[in-house]
């Protein structure tokens, strides 16, 4: 502690708070970074890692968050990404920000092309790009269009671009998610090089193995708070996982005892191919079954293929799919969401704004959208019948709004989610899929949704619940299936599903298929 003065951190983020309507995403997070340090930031999905990095990267301008950011002791107030960049911060997001049709060199110097009298000096640009790539020992030709590079090489170009800005702080958000093993090695070599040059790096990853291999220090975030920060050698995988998940499970989850019936729904050897990358499988030979009245939880980290699996079952995935679907003992073919609905499937999608709601439309129009012919009329609509159904759903799910004619886009996240749930309940489903049903909504609304899930299961509905919030999966499911990179790596009963077990399978550390014969 006495060395504190000499080693004042290079970057300091103090008491950062950030709230979105209804949710506190960051709650007084303190984080620091030294020169030449690789500081890993870990936590479950939704723990606040990305939000914290967006605060640092200027995506959320000064004033929209609380707390302060200091670089070399000087307070920083970024009004946008440009200002953060000027201060030497480069964030490499999961979704790359390169222009696919421009060359590597053009991308590196985009917006800052060397020019004379306003005319771009192409030779100078490519000479400098080449020098930069050579410096990183990257065998990439600067004239190559980005489109022709693999995703891994694109990531490396992105890093080269960051360095051309003289970045002193580099944020890497899941940098290895899309890389092959050799590309990962190249990336790590470059990170070592940067470390030697004194670049501070913030490394966000779900892959604990990488974190332990590369980092100097690890900070764990949970629910928007720092729950542990220490040098890497004082951690081990168990202690990190314990901190990531370590919260009281069960307190906000209702007690339940679902009477289980026959198998209502079954998927056999379902595989899904990436529509953009031929040969890359997003889901690999996944089989699952649910009984009437049972809640099957599917756990897994971002990119494990959970949503792809559900989209494929529902006949909406753009990629090629194979596998069999059985409903109540009969094999069915589902090649469109319409067919899925006719077979009694309901699908509360993740990202309600993108996949769930027509934001411009009223609550009522959204609620009745999927079941319109059943509720209203085959061709001519019957507003009375719709309104009656809508008012009932509104009361049952306790949607807080002035009336069923309120525009859906004006509702809070929790109420929007209830509208999506109502939409699917109004189709009278036999099997209900819930994909991240409580993402981005406040605790009160979460609890209400949990209560609904239990009520529906008790009524005999078969439910498949996908969530990246582990406590949610554990607190609600009768059985838990764990996916890792498109494959089932674990299956647990309610009693054997501990956070540690599930997380170990989700991070690919272990395989446990104890329920399966």
């Amino acid at each position: 502690m006495t060395t504190n003065e000499q080693r004042a951190p290079f970057l300091e983020m103090r008491e950062i708070t950030k709230t979105f309507p209804g949710v506190r995403a960051l709650d007084g997070v303190t984080f620091d970074l030294q020169r030449g340090e690789l500081h890993a930031l870990v936590g479950e999905n939704g723990a606040g890692k990305s939000t914290l990095m967006k605060v640092l990267g200027g995506v959320y301008p000064f004033g929209s968050y609380g707390g302060e950011i200091r670089i070399e002791g000087a307070e920083q107030r970024f009004n946008g990404v440009r200002e953060a960049e000027a201060a030497g911060i480069a964030v490499i997001y999961q979704e790359l920000s390169l222009v696919k049709d421009l060359s590597v060199g053009e991308n590196i110097f985009l917006g800052r092309e060397p020019r004379r009298f306003g005319i771009i000096r192409w030779e100078e640009l490519y000479r400098r790009a080449q020098a930069l790539l050579d410096d990183l020992r990257l065998p990439i030709e600067p004239h190559t269009p980005i489109r022709n590079l693999g995703i891994g090489q694109q990531q490396l170009v992105e890093i080269a671009k960051a360095l051309s800005h003289d970045a002193r702080i580099l944020v890497l958000d899941e940098p290895t998610a899309a890389l092959t093993d050799t590309e990962v090695e190249t990336l790590f070599r470059i990170l070592q090089q940067l470390r030697a040059r004194g670049v501070g790096m913030i490394y966000i990853s779900h892959k604990l193995e990488e974190v332990f291999r590369m980092s100097d220090r690890i900070t764990v975030l949970r629910d928007g708070r720092t729950v542990g920060t220490d040098v890497t050698k004082n951690w081990d995988e168990r202690s990190v996982i314990a901190r990531m998940v370590g919260r009281e499970v069960g307190d906000i989850f209702p007690e339940f005892d679902h009477p289980h019936g026959d198998v209502a729904f079954e998927v056999r050897r379902m595989s899904v191919e990436d529509p953009n990358v031929t040969g890359k499988m997003l889901v690999k030979e996944v089989s699952l079954s649910v009984r009437r009245g049972e809640v099957l939880g599917i756990a897994g980290l971002m990119g494990a293929g959970r949503s792809d699996l559900l989209m494929a079952i529902f006949g909406a995935h753009a990629g090629r799919t194979s596998g069999e679907i059985w409903i109540e003992g009969r094999r069915v073919r589902i090649n469109s969401p319409r067919a899925a609905i006719q077979h009694g499937l309901g699908f509360v999608t993740e990202d309600r704004k993108r996949f769930g709601l027509v934001l411009d439309q009223t609550i009522l129009n959204n609620m009745t959208l999927a079941g319109l012919p059943r509720i209203s009329g085959r061709f001519v609509t019957n507003v009375d019948a719709e309104a009656a159904a809508g008012n009932r759903a509104m009361k049952e799910l306790r949607v807080k709004a002035n009336s069923i004619f309120t525009i859906a886009g004006t509702l809070s996240g929790g109420n929007q989610q209830k509208v999506v749930l109502a939409k699917w309940l109004l189709t009278n489903p036999r099997v209900l899929f819930l994909d991240e049903p409580t993402r981005g909504i406040d605790v009160g609304a979460k609890q209400e949704i949990y209560a609904q899930i239990n009520r529906l299961a008790e009524q005999g509905l078969a439910i498949v619940l996908v969530s990246s919030e582990l406590p949610e999966v554990l607190g609600l499911s009768d059985r838990v299936l764990v996916l890792h990179e498109g494959r089932v790596t674990g299956e647990f009963t309610r009693t054997s599903a501990t956070p540690e077990n599930v997380m170990a399978c989700a991070t690919g550390q272990e395989q446990r298929l104890e329920v399966r014969g």
Binding site: Q94, E95, G303, F314, A316, F355, L369, T381, D384, S403
Partner: protein, 452 residues
């Protein structure tokens, strides 16, 4: 564009919003505050449009009065300019122009309505296209082709009225079917398909007609565009309309109470009945008081009857059917619509067919009104129709807009045409002014939306 790597991709045809991504944050400003009153923005927009139309009508009526003072630009002498302003103010408050203006005189008003009918019919079809997030640039050429084919059939081939009309409308319908299929099933963006159509169909009619203008031989054909239904029918329609207004207003109030909403009180309810009823009566009165020959009064022009039917049909289809509901959903959020089991491709195909059908109807009105089919008939009509929708508050991104708005937009467009022609404004100036008004209307709308 902003899709993340992990996001599943949904299978569906492209929409305008894919090509021109809309920032998500630009959503949801549903209420506008004016002097402490919070008014639903859409309602406010509807009033603004009607108000704009009324202002345009009053302006042209004033300007077309033969007694109105002339106009002087300030650079032609500042003192003259102020003298002119003064004489305008004096003349305006003399209210002489109300009697002497030409624009809202029965004869011109009847003409104006007839002019509106082609744009109006097209605008109803275009509205449904745009609602789904698509666009149709080919309707002008389709009007030219379909009208030409109908004229060729009755003229060169000597067919009767019904077969000739069927041939014309059928052609337009088939074109809609083809373009819709290319868009919905082959995923070619509608902008491209119909841009191709704009060129190709114009080429077809130029080839078929060998560049000649084909006169209409059948009097019955011409009368579709030129005749009237007679004052008696007008008054019967007015009575029916007023009854319908009373009935819908009362039943809507009842429905609102049934759904647990507050219904408007007695005064607002009366206003909701009396204002539209007065508009209907005034409209019919204007139509009926046009004296074609001494002692012979016209009544409603047949094209206007067709437009009224198309408008009512379009309003019913968009507001009171599952089909219409799905159009809004598809345009508002195609991914959510698809996941809710809506067959996007079929609906897009159907809308293009409807557009084709309506373009066929419009082509018949157009040809009949002119009395002949020229190979360059209908040029730029697609832009009039799109402009009508946009001025009427339709979002080009899809999911937002009403038939009522599109019709008001069509009225605004044709009023500008008619009024400026009466004032002998040069055609090039007319185009400049119409273009400027279109951009300004959307600009104002965007500025209004940003505040939220």
């Amino acid at each position: 564009m902003s899709k993340s790597a992990n996001e599943p991709v949904i299978q569906r045809p492209p929409v305008t919003a894919d090509v021109i991504p809309v920032p998500v944050a630009a959503e949801v400003t549903r209420r506008t505050k004016i002097a402490g009153f919070s008014i639903p923005t859409d309602t406010l927009r509807a009033y603004t449009m009607v108000l704009a139309l009324v202002v345009i009508w009053i302006f042209f009526h004033y300007a077309t009065s033969p007694n109105a003072p002339g106009f002087v630009w300030p650079w032609e002498g500042v003192s003259n300019f102020f003298l002119m302003l003064k004489s305008h103010i004096l003349y305006f408050f003399s209210f002489d122009w109300i009697k002497t203006g030409i624009f809202l005189e029965a004869r011109n008003f009847s003409n104006l309505m007839r002019q509106t009918s082609v744009t109006g019919v097209l605008a109803v079809g275009m509205l449904m296209i745009i609602l789904t997030g698509q666009i149709d640039l080919s309707v002008g050429s389709v009007v030219g082709l379909a009208g030409g084919i109908a004229a060729i059939c009755q003229g060169w081939l000597g067919w009767g009225l019904a077969p000739a009309l069927t041939a014309g409308i059928g052609t337009a319908l088939l074109i809609g079917l083809a373009q819709g299929a290319l868009n919905a099933y082959l995923n070619i963006p509608a902008f491209i398909v119909t841009l191709g159509g704009l060129l190709a169909w114009r080429g077809v009619i130029l080839g078929l007609s060998k560049g000649e203008t084909i006169p209409l031989r059948l009097q019955a054909f011409k009368s579709i565009g030129q005749d009237y239904v007679g004052p008696m029918i007008g008054w019967i329609l007015a009575a029916l309309a007023v009854a319908a207004i009373i009935w819908t207003t009362i039943s809507r109030n009842r429905a609102r109470r049934r759904h647990g909403l507050t219904a408007p009180g007695l005064l607002p309810t009366l206003a909701r009945i009396i204002v539209p009823a007065l508009v209907v009566v005034w409209f019919i009165y204007m139509m009926n008081s046009y004296e074609i020959a001494p002692g012979r009064f016209a009544g409603i022009p047949i094209p206007v009857i067709i437009l009224l039917a198309v408008t009512l049909g379009g309003a019913f289809l968009t507001q009171n059917t599952t089909f219409g509901r799905y159009l809004y959903a598809i345009g508002g959020n195609p991914d959510a619509a698809r996941l809710s089991g809506i067959q996007i491709r079929k609906h897009i195909l159907a809308v293009f067919c409807l557009m084709g059908l309506l373009a066929g109807v419009a082509s018949i009105i157009y040809t009949a009104r002119v009395g002949s089919a020229s190979p360059d008939a209908g040029q730029l009509l697609e832009l009039d129709a799109i402009a009508a929708c946009v001025i009427g508050g339709t979002s080009l991104m899809g999911g937002r807009g009403t038939v009522f708005g599109a019709i008001i937009g069509a009225l605004i467009m044709s009023s500008l045409d008619n009024g400026m022609s009466l004032k002998n404004v040069a055609p090039y100036t007319q185009n400049i002014i119409k273009g400027a008004i279109l951009v300004a209307a959307v600009g104002l709308d965007m500025a209004g939306r940003k505040r939220g």
